[in-house]
């Protein structure tokens, strides 16, 4: 009889044990899955940004009048729409977003710092002219001009950055970055191919 009572008591203590364990494990597991998804998304956006930077540089090095802005915005068409809402002051039809001249500001003049983002903007590009150690086409970069100006002539390098604003979804990732927002930055440098 005592044995039966004891068995009954133990059975009572086991009731819900799996549920409790599951409840305890689910939040960290879920967090972990979301963290993985978050990081994966961040890499995916980074690859998009790298593709956009590449497209912009390739357009920019063809000639000094080709539209870099359109090339950048058109590239990540799967992730970032080519709209003013997404690109803000460097969006389509804007003064900074249309890059067909070396004499007017082209791309974000602040180099797409975090302060350059406003409103719904989630993407930004900036470019600048860099001089090379040879003074012409060759050499390593010795210095770059201010953001916003493409080269007026050949014999320079064109450096272009694309930054994508990436708000982290999970608290885990948000804990690692200031304000819970990552600024994914990709840059490319090309030698102007026109003569």
């Amino acid at each position: 009889m005592r044995m039966e009572a004891s068995r009954r008591t133990r059975r009572r203590t086991q009731v819900g044990q799996a549920l409790v364990e599951f409840a305890l494990l689910t939040p960290p597991l879920l967090l972990f899955v979301l963290l993985t998804v978050d990081v994966g998304r961040a890499y995916w956006e980074s690859i998009d940004a790298a593709g956009a930077a590449r497209a912009g540089v390739r357009m920019g090095i063809i000639s000094d009048t080709s539209d870099i802005g359109g090339a950048v915005r058109d590239e990540p068409n799967s992730g970032i729409p080519n709209t003013v809402a997404a690109w803000g002051s460097v969006g389509p039809g804007t003064a900074w977003g249309t890059c067909t001249s070396g004499t007017s500001t082209c791309g974000d003049p602040n180099g797409c710092a975090s302060t350059s983002f406003s409103g719904t903007q989630i993407a930004c590009f900036a470019l600048r002219t860099c001089t090379l150690s040879s003074g012409g086409d060759l050499g390593t970069i010795t210095g770059c001009g201010p953001w916003g100006l493409r080269p007026l002539s050949g014999g320079h390098a064109l450096q272009l950055v694309v930054v994508i604003k990436f708000p982290a979804v999970t608290p885990a990732l948000a804990a690692f970055v200031t304000g819970g927002v990552l600024y994914l930055r990709q840059s490319d440098t090309g030698n102007e191919l026109y003569f």
Binding site: R7, E21, A50, R54, T100
Partner: protein
Amino acid sequence: MMWYVTSRKRQSGQVLPIAAAAFLVMCALAGLAIDTSRDYLVKRDAQNAADFAVLAASKQMTLSGTLNGPVASNSNAVIAAHDYTTNNSFSTIYSSGCDAGGSSSFSTTWFDVPGLSCGATTGFTNKVSVNSPPVALPGAPVPAACQGSGQFTCIQVIITTRIAELFTSALGINTAYVTVGASAQAILPGSSFDAPPPNAVTLYQPQADCDKKLQCFDETKPASRALLSCTGGSNNCPTFWVRPGTAPQIYGYDGSVLSSPGDYTVLRSAGDMVIQDNTTICDSYGGATCSPNRAVGSQGFGAQAGSKIYCSAINGASAPTGCTTTGQSSLARIYSNETSWIPGYWYPTVDTSQLPYCGSLILNGGPMYGPCADPSEPYLIGPGFYDYIVINHGDYEFGPGLYDITGLAPVNTATSGFANGIDHSQETAAGDFDLCTGRTVTSCPVLTAGIWIGHGSLAYSAYQGPTPGSCTNGVAGSGGGGGDPTVISGSGVVFRFGSNSGGFVSTNEVQGLTLAGAGVGALASVNGSPLLFDMENNGFIHLDSQAGGSGVPPNTTSGIIYQTPNATGGGVEFDPSMAGSDVSGNELPAVQGQILAYTLTIIGSSGGTMDFTNGYGGGSVPGIGTSGRNENSIITSVTLKAGAPGFSILTVNYADEWMMDAYDVYVKVNNGSPQFFSQGIWTSPPGPATPLPPPSNNPGDAYPAYPSGGTPGSYTIISTGPPQGSSDWLYAIPGGSGATIEAKGAWTWGHHNDPRIVPPGRSSNYTASLIYTFPNPIGNYLSVTMFMLDGDRCGDYAYATYTFKSTGGPGPGQQSIGSVSLVQ
């Protein structure tokens, strides 16, 4: 019972270890996913770096001026490859320690750490290799453009980078290596298209062993030819024959403007030359001015040793051969300096694989028919395979593209109604040397060709005028055509005649013949060659027409007239008088370009030149949407010459039945924003995203305007004729550093000048010029695009691109911009 208790004990806390194990597995998978994503991102960055490095390197190859061998150690191309991988974060230590190769290849490798062997596959973070020519990589064979003769035009950059893994290192995978490669092809300025050496005339028929050849020149008999044949009867064909009354002027190319200057012989003949009228062969090297009856330049003509030159005198200081005067009559002078003969051959590359089959054509003024007809343009002949083409009557245009003629046209057998083949009845002994003299509709039953353009006497369909269309919403009208007079035009056309076909004949009865070959680099199927005729048989290309009237489109051909060097007969013959003259009475060139053929005979009457001084020019015909139609035949000639110091002048001459519309004329440089001639009257500058020209400012049918002193705008009005008359306005492009667009001749504002719309309108032939003057320092490379419209209601247009390097010299056209591109 004991078993029951034990089982319960085992279940206690079972979820936790399972979850912990699962957690570990999930961690491993998540780590693998993150590391893989990271690897992919680094690979993407490396690919970008390789792309930009190889492009920078190939630019240096282009600037080097030669692509005859592998890049050299420590050359700018190699340095650029290194620098641009470093500038894109894949830095290495530059060194020539791993340079290898010789005359057939070059390779080098750099690492980011010193002391590694050249073949090291580990121990570094970044490794960059350069190969010239490119080599195959796993899963990436050598690009087709970089094989064979193109191998030294290409360079390859390979980046291998080590990635320290974050998570998979727990599984023992501490690092991963990714390798990417990129190849690029460089194209030299000035030789970026497939073309023969710039000799104006190259003739193959040799004199040696004449008795063993099907076609040659028997020096014991007078030169003679009939019915497009050099065999049988009295036929006897010299390699170069100037017929009496023709007084030809053959002007060669100024090779000093090439990126690698060269003074090329104007006329090369492998056999005998019979000169029966004063003949000028001018070498314009160094910008020398050519004019009739003047020996200019040292490289006038060269004949193979053993050949005779039948002439009365050679007007030059250096004449190693001298004239032979025995055996031929009516001999005349050569005004040219003789030089040594250098053999040379060239073979075009023609790809007919994409051509549609179009059947055969016999046109007597009716609409084009068959599988290649365009219902919206009933008098436009489309490119493709044809058995043959006969045009006895009518106004037709050949659309841009390749025409491959495989057979021979039948001669007409009908005695009434429409001809069912070539109608020779109007050809005359006086006007049509070498053609039919029978004068009946069934004469000369075996005199044929692959394409025969003539003017018969049998029935024809009535001329159909242009259909104006609505001119709105992109609804175009159609061009007219057909009728009795034979008027043929074509721009960007190439005629190929297969081995079983014949040649091309345009008779003296043809009223209009304007054929422009493919623009430089414009037609991929001929490998970018500026080809017009490619005759792969022993036929004849016979070019003749009535002389064009003053101010009307000249009867002329431009492009390469080529016959295979494998030919054993046939050749080319043309009439210098067919082009007519401009409004000032200056004779226009009948043939612009080169001739490479078995023989060349100058027929007909004296007149314009065979002019190769301007090279080929270059034109391309991209599609563009307007309410008119693309009508590149309205461009009659293009010249490029040096202007004031530091400036070049591009002149595009235009002729059409309607005036030119200056309103929408624009110029683009390096594919930049268009600069409109009409900008001077725009009331306000349009915004960045608004269309150009601003629609609200665009005069058209509803808002015609005329050039007059009262027209608003900022132009320098050099002269203004009566409304719709001849005017000369100059517009300075704002911010153009001195660039101007000048519209000169019969032009007006707004494509409204159809007499049915704005009476009285104009419906005659008018000519005008667009003159673009622009800053262009010597050595500068430019691509200039001009867009122009004629003045009829719907605004037919022409659109041409000219690419060149400013040499500071007067030579146009031949120059073609160097370029680089990634290849796969």
